[in-house]
Symmetry: C2
Subunit: 148 residues, 2 copies
């Protein structure tokens, strides 16, 4: 099994702002995709859509306020189904640190390389969203390649 890993630090005196940004529809729509719907409670399924490219359905399997959030991918691209997205949060000085992992890829395929870079851009969008109030969610995300 292969994992995508990232670490970002967001200028925020409280973990709560970052926790809200990954656990509410308004928060998620502010940095990942504006087309975010579904149920964000424990056991609920959140639907993230990216226009013609499709999207992902994530089941919320852990909600540990201001510490950890875990999603299981229940629908989306074949390579994603059954993988796990984990958000670990901690405070260091004036930064909320996110240790992010997208775990359980079967193979290090080209699409996994793409998703790793893409996650980095969305995590920086999340940082910008919490720090300034404005992120760069789909359809306004940064272009990374011919796969957009």
């Amino acid at each position: 099994m292969k994992d995508i890993l990232h670490r970002v630090g967001i200028k925020s005196v409280s973990l709560d702002d970052v926790y809200d940004a990954v656990t509410t529809l308004d928060g998620l729509a502010g940095w990942w995709t504006t087309d975010t719907t579904g149920i964000t409670d424990l056991g609920g399924v959140i639907k993230f859509r990216f226009g013609p490219a499709g999207g992902f359905d994530m089941k919320v399997v852990e909600l540990n306020p201001a510490k950890q959030v875990v999603w299981e991918v229940v629908d989306g691209p074949e390579e994603w189904i059954g993988t796990t997205v984990r958000w670990e949060l901690k405070q260091e000085d004036d930064f909320t640190i996110i240790l992010f992992s997208h775990e359980g890829w079967q193979d290090a395929v080209e699409f996994m390389h793409h998703c790793s870079t893409r996650w980095a851009t969305y995590l920086l969008s999340l940082k910008q969203f919490v720090e300034t109030g404005t992120g760069a969610p789909h359809p306004d995300e940064v272009e990374v390649s011919n796969w957009t």
Copy 2:
């Protein structure tokens, strides 16, 4: 062993521009760090420095024009020594695609999470450098966290 993976696509009708940007001192200084010195020939050691944070010495172990470049990390942070940085290049339509990997990490430590996000920002700096002539190398890189 754990690997950092990324994929970026650079608008360029020829692989050569991207190959030059990862195999010449002027190219590397344009997107990674302005303090780049050393020998870029096969078997040479390139020294990348980031001010007080130190840096990395990379031995060039493969130079396959416009196809693949491989570096072995011979000095730098303990976690990096002995790891391998691999650049695979290919052309798709008007994009030069980079499949990047930083291979052979012993453990998925927090520093590896950080380096994965950092590589993404430098790869996007490389994209910007080739597409526009101006990248965002150290000391002008994008901030990703309290670790800068």
